[in-house]
Amino acid sequence: MTSNIATAPDIKAKKRSARPSAFKLLARNQLALMGAAILALVIALVLITPILPLPDPDVTDPAQRLLPPFSDGHFLGTDHLGRDLLSRLLWGTRVSLAVGISASLVAALFGSTIGIVSGYFGGRTDNIMMRGIDMLMAFPYILLALAIVAALGPGLMNALYAIAVVNIPFFARNIRGVTVGIAHREFVDAAKLSGKGHIRILVTEILPNVMPVIVITISTTVGWMILETAGLSFLGLGAQPPQADLGSMLGEGRKLITTAQHLSAIPGAMIFILVMSINLLGDGIRDVLDPRLKSGALARPAPLTKIDRSDEGTGHPVDDDTVLAVDELRTEFVLGDDTYKAVGGVSFSVGKNECVGLVGESGSGKSVTALSLLGLVASPPGTIAGGRVMFDGKDVFDMSERQVRDIRGGKAAYVFQDPLSTLHPLFSIGDQLVEAIRAHNAMSYKDAWAKAVKLLGMVRIPNPERRAENYPHQLSGGMRQRVGIAMALANEPQLIIADEPTTALDVTVQAQILKLMNNLRTDHGTSVLFITHDFGVVSEICDRVAVMYAGRIVEMGTTEQVLGNPAHPYTKRLIDCVPRLGEPDRRTAAIPGLPPAVNNLPAGCAFADRCERAEDKCRVGEISFDDLGDGHGVRCIKPMEAANV
């Protein structure tokens, strides 16, 4: 219930730098504010109860018994002994609040002590203490409280102790988790070296750091504890007459449920209002502290990326032998007030049976480009902000969800990086292949399974009949990637979009996968869009290459042109980063500096700040993409001389 509390200190640290919250959060905060207001009102009422002009809550008046609400002199009526219900309600709320809060504090004191000691000393102390806590948690919650009350005897104080004890595990676990995280941090080591004793370190170094977590745990459990102490009183095991809390009032009212319903309805409503307002407040606090809500990371991604085209590209006609034509594609992420232009106007095409490489550093926008093609960018927060993607002569962004779905996995298929996270962990790989096949073919499960086994054989998985029954975690990384490729092949696609399919693999497996993909291309005439950061891979498989930097293509041409005669300084530097066999003395210089943040792109060339050839005019205006002839193009004012070859 409270497991996410453990990360609260980090969350707080991040919060300072975060942007103002979104409207949705504000709406939630309004609920939290409402909770806070109600709670404050009840507490204020209860605090001034002794000075309010109310009748004594314990004075009986048999002549006035069981008056309904709104009677003269008794706003909420009277109970079976003629006592004023409003007065009893307020006094009872006082007791219930006091008991609930006290129980929280007692549980917090003991639970936190156990948690801090356990987390700080670790080892055997930790083990023994946590086993004990586990034992307490092996009991159904209220049952343990009942057993304690049974031993100590009914009474309000005993109920308080019982509820406190059963809540100790929540505190102990949460606080232990946080303490373990800070027990070996530098400031604690420093305190130890300075000769401070354990107890002083616990009190002066650890406690201040876990305090926020203790407070949050209290705020999430106090409502629950008010409810449970009231429950024990309701059963007659808590407050004993003449003392009354909300629970015992409800318990008494229950006996007159057919004649005087307000006697049970009113005290119960009060408990409900109290607990509800505390929960509203607690939820609100937790939501505000959770950075995932702000970033939209908890929003459900739509089946199709939101398309909000302000322009439809240049509208150049598309050649007949072009499978995929991308025209001024722009994809953006909106996070808070920031717009991240992950893809800022990208154009390229993939011809029939052609393999085009899309190369760049991580964060250059190459993967987002790949996902944008069939609307697979998570949205929110992603939006396709402009451009056109023509697949097989048709504009993908003009299609319905259903039409795009038909292309996905059908005529165009993806192979993703890291198949451990991209394959479903709970279905066998055969099952997942069958699903891919049957999504586009009306075929019986049995036939599809046979085809799945054939596909596995095709990607050279040994013993495919048996392997089909395995789950992804039972396969090696290379095998899993083959499964990913088999899945892409399921419906004989015209285009395979492979997003770093070899990055997570070691070199020998990488070579096998590349060979496999090359064979597929020659055997089936498939086109491939190959996304990678590795020029070595590019030279092995690609006909043409596009180099991406900060969301734009900076150079494009045939593999020979780009690798042998790079025109953009960035391409040159990238190629220089790759060590070459037989040239051990060659400088493999890393590129100094970092790519610019795509939410704050500079004017002019995005690479200018890292480029040794940069001049003043590189930093003004839009740098155009110029043709160097023979399909070789570059986005640079001073392209490298061909003499560099």
Binding site: L143, F234, G236, L250, L280, P303, P425, L426
Partner: protein, 315 residues
């Protein structure tokens, strides 16, 4: 699979032992002389002495625990002083009624909790999500004993659609339809809080899972959205929710104490409350051990179920 279950069964033994130690320790916290506490202040010294010997109070704590434990293992839970019958007979008789109530509630809260959570996640930030989220907040804030009274007032006292309390009608009852009619109000009341907790967890887990890479893969395969949500996402979310359903079994078993009291359900919860009032310590001990033990068993069941659904989970 069998090895897994066997291992879990063996691991259960120390938990059960620890459980009995805690119950024993709690009961030894009874202030003053338990024999006197049981017999009341009018008891003769002779009787008190005899009961002390009966209860083994003249022996050391460890001996007392050992005797209590071995007797229990042989089915001897002692004799209830207030009911004047063996504790085991009483708790077994009562336990059936509690199991019917708690079991029905657990089924209800699982079905409605999962359903609410999934709908909420799929319609995130839509009106259905907002309404359900608010209903869930009410559900986990409402005192079940009060809700029970309200439902009773409305459906049983006002509308007279359902019986007010008890498990069977006194005259002419006793068959299954009669039981179901009596079961509706208490089981629904008992299920409300757990439904809320399961719904919340299902919603957040579904939203978490829907961001995972394998969901993108499912979409990239060209699967329709219903299949993505109800097959791919739901199964992955369910695996995380099942252990919590196991924990809810504890809340439901514990919450039965209130609901049985409100609806006069002849279960073990009401028996415990009565036994505490009459200071019938042996009856409390036996009841608590049995209910807590069955909770441990249920959690084992939830673990095995999770193991079946998730091939990655290792013992």
């Amino acid at each position: 699979m069998h090895v897994y279950i066997l291992r879990r069964l063996i691991l259960m033994v120390p938990v059960l032992l620890g459980l009995t130690v805690i119950v024993f320790l709690i009961m030894s916290m009874i202030p003053g002389d338990p024999a006197l506490a049981i017999l009341g202040s009018y008891a003769t010294p002779d009787n008190v002495e005899k009961l002390r010997a009966d209860l083994g109070l003249d022996k050391t704590m460890v001996e007392q625990y050992w005797i209590w434990l071995t007797n229990m293992l042989q089915g001897d839970f002692g004799r209830s002083y207030s009911l004047n019958r063996p504790v085991l007979d009483e708790i077994l008789e009562r336990f059936g009624a509690t199991l019917i109530l708690a079991g029905t509630s657990l089924v209800l809260c699982t079905i409605f909790g999962l359903l609410t959570g999934v709908i909420s996640a799929v319609r995130q930030y839509g009106w259905a999500d907002k309404a359900l989220t608010f209903a869930v907040l009410i559900g986990i804030s409402v005192p079940s004993f009060w809700l029970g009274l309200l439902l009773m007032m409305f459906f049983a006292v006002e509308l007279r659609w359902l019986p007010v309390s008890g498990m069977y009608a006194i005259y002419g009852g006793g068959d299954l339809p009669d039981l179901i009619r009596h079961l509706i109000l208490p089981s629904v009341t008992l299920a409300v809080v757990a439904t809320g907790i399961i719904a919340r967890l299902t919603r957040s887990n579904m939203l978490e899972v829907l961001r995972q890479d394998f969901i993108r893969t499912a979409r990239a395969k060209g699967l329709d959205e219903n299949r993505v949500i109800y097959r791919h996402a739901f199964k992955a979310a369910l695996v995380n929710v099942i252990p919590v359903i196991g924990v809810q079994a504890g809340f439901v078993l514990g919450g039965a104490v209130y609901i049985e009291t409100v609806f006069q359900w002849p279960g073990i919860g009401r028996m415990l409350v009565n036994a505490i009032s009459t200071r019938d310590i042996l009856l409390v001990q036996g009841g608590v051990v049995l209910v807590a033990g069955s909770y441990v068993l249920f959690n084992l069941f939830a673990d095995v179920l999770q193991h079946l659904l998730d091939p990655r989970v290792k013992a």
